[in-house]
Amino acid sequence: MIEVRNLSYQIKEKTILENINVDIREGDFVAIIGPNGAGKSTFLKLMLGLLPIQTGSIHYYQQDHTDYLKENQLAYLPQKEAFTPNFPLKVIDLVLMGRMFGKKLFRRLTKKDMDIAIESLKLLKIEQFKDKLINNLSGGEFQRVLLARALATESKYIFLDEPEAGIDTVGLAGFYELLSHMNELGKTIIAVSHDLDKLSEYCKIVICLNKTLHCHAKPDANIKQIIHEFIEEGK
């Protein structure tokens, strides 16, 4: 359970987010929708602890989010994970990055870590990529590997920032289906996106954001119409 209370955020006197109040329940599949510059990514980064909170609070299970994050690893797929071209990293090693949490200095990864990483790859049906170099993957394949790393953390929450970037339309439907499957397995999914039409077929809750919270509802036809109008207005 994530409770966001009176959350506001400013950059140099410009208001990015204003007085956001929302609860995200365990097992939800949340799509955060809004026009460009609506503060979607900022909202995500605040929840992830990647930006410091200025006003308001975020609690995970009644625990202040900074304390929670010290003891727990969240899973996060950034908008863009740009790496040096030809960086010689194998898929399995990138997935194992998700197992670094709680490792003291000089403490090695164990067989259990390796098993969890392999299991994550299997779940996403990309086990065969294990020893491939990340450089040789397509955009969609790379996103799946990042999702495998997210699973390897064993976090209850998976945050995604515009996962549609870098995947073609066919690949995207498959990717959303995977997310849906992860959700069925008990993961709480929180995805920021531009692409409501596709995502709304899979998500359970839509949060509409444009500085303030505009709506928070199930994605039925009625709501979709309202959201479309809202996004058009935003443009």
């Binding site: 992830l48 990647l50 690893q73 996060y76 950034p78 994970e81 740009a82 790496f83 040096t84 030809n86 960086f87 010689p88 990293l89 090693d93 990138l94 194992l96 990055m97 998700g98 670094m100 949490f101 709680g102 490792k103 200095l105 000089f106 990864l109 170099l133 790393r149 953390t153």
Partner: protein, 271 residues
């Protein structure tokens, strides 16, 4: 062929050349992947001020220059973090200032001109037995760093902020990497010279990454090619009476060209 080893100081410099090739090559793959070749270039110039200070005060060059370089690494990191400035700009700024300070300090010494060129281009006559111990300790430090933090270093080099999100101590690793790099440069600079040590820090990594995409293998190969270049370079320079540092760089560059050619062949084979 190896008759020169009978002469003590030549033997020392020959061994020192090999040891320095090993220590710099151990870091070379990471320097190449993290794209901090400008850092090695800058730190070698920064060490010049340390050397000048040691010469003026009549103290150990290795100690003074190591401490000086480490302090400057600290200053670079502090300024770029706390004043939100681009790290590369701060580094280049401090490089110019250090060179300026070094030249001012050396102008107080009478033998100014000879000293500058010795340190700019390396001078085997400057090497003594103590340097061999220093270089050996340095190799051990490098090995401990790489073996102790192998995965952490790779993740930090891959993507610092993502690594941090996944609880890799990326900032600490960066600080240690730069400090170890600074130490290597401060100690090795006498042998290869300020101008050419960057080649020794970049080329072995570039050569080995042309030939293998496995980081651990690349590190081993990088050491191999660096030592081979050092031995070949030394023999050639002795035989034709040429400056050793410069010859080693040219030999390394020849290996680089060969590796480019082989890389093309390898890619064709895969296709």
């Amino acid at each position: 062929m190896f008759s020169f080893l009978a002469i003590n100081f030549l033997m020392y410099s020959f061994i020192a050349g090999i040891l320095s090739a090993v220590s710099t090559a151990l870091l070379s793959v990471f320097v190449t992947l993290k794209k901090i070749s400008y850092m090695s270039e800058a730190l070698s110039h920064i060490s010049f001020a340390g050397i000048a200070l040691a010469l003026l005060l009549g103290l150990s060059i290795n100690i003074v220059s190591s401490i000086f370089v480490m302090i400057v690494v600290g200053v670079i990191l502090y300024i770029s973090l706390h004043y939100n400035l681009e790290e590369s700009n701060v580094t280049m700024l401090l490089m110019s200032v250090s060179m300026a300070i070094g030249i001012i300090l050396l102008s107080f010494k009478k033998s100014y001109v000879a000293d500058v060129s010795s340190y700019m281009f390396g001078n085997i006559l400057l090497i003594n037995k103590a340097d061999l111990y220093w270089l050996s300790v340095l190799i051990i430090i490098n090995l401990l760093f790489i073996m102790g933090f192998y995965r952490e270093i790779i993740y930090t080099v891959y993507h610092t902020s993502i690594a941090e999100f996944y609880h890799v101590p990326a900032k600490l690793i960066t600080v240690i990497l730069l400090t170890v790099l600074g130490l290597n440069i401060a100690i090795s600079v006498k042998i290869t010279g300020i101008v050419m040590i960057t080649a020794q820090l970049i080329l072995p990594g570039m050569i080995s990454l042309n030939l293998t995409r496995v980081i651990s293998k690349a590190i081993v190969f990088s050491v191999f090619v660096s030592v081979l270049s050092s031995i070949l370079g030394f023999l050639l320079s002795f035989h034709y009476n040429l400056p050793s540092g410069a010859v080693i760089v040219v030999v390394l560059f020849s290996f680089f060209l060969v590796s480019l050619f082989l890389k093309k062949l390898l890619i064709k084979e895969i296709q």
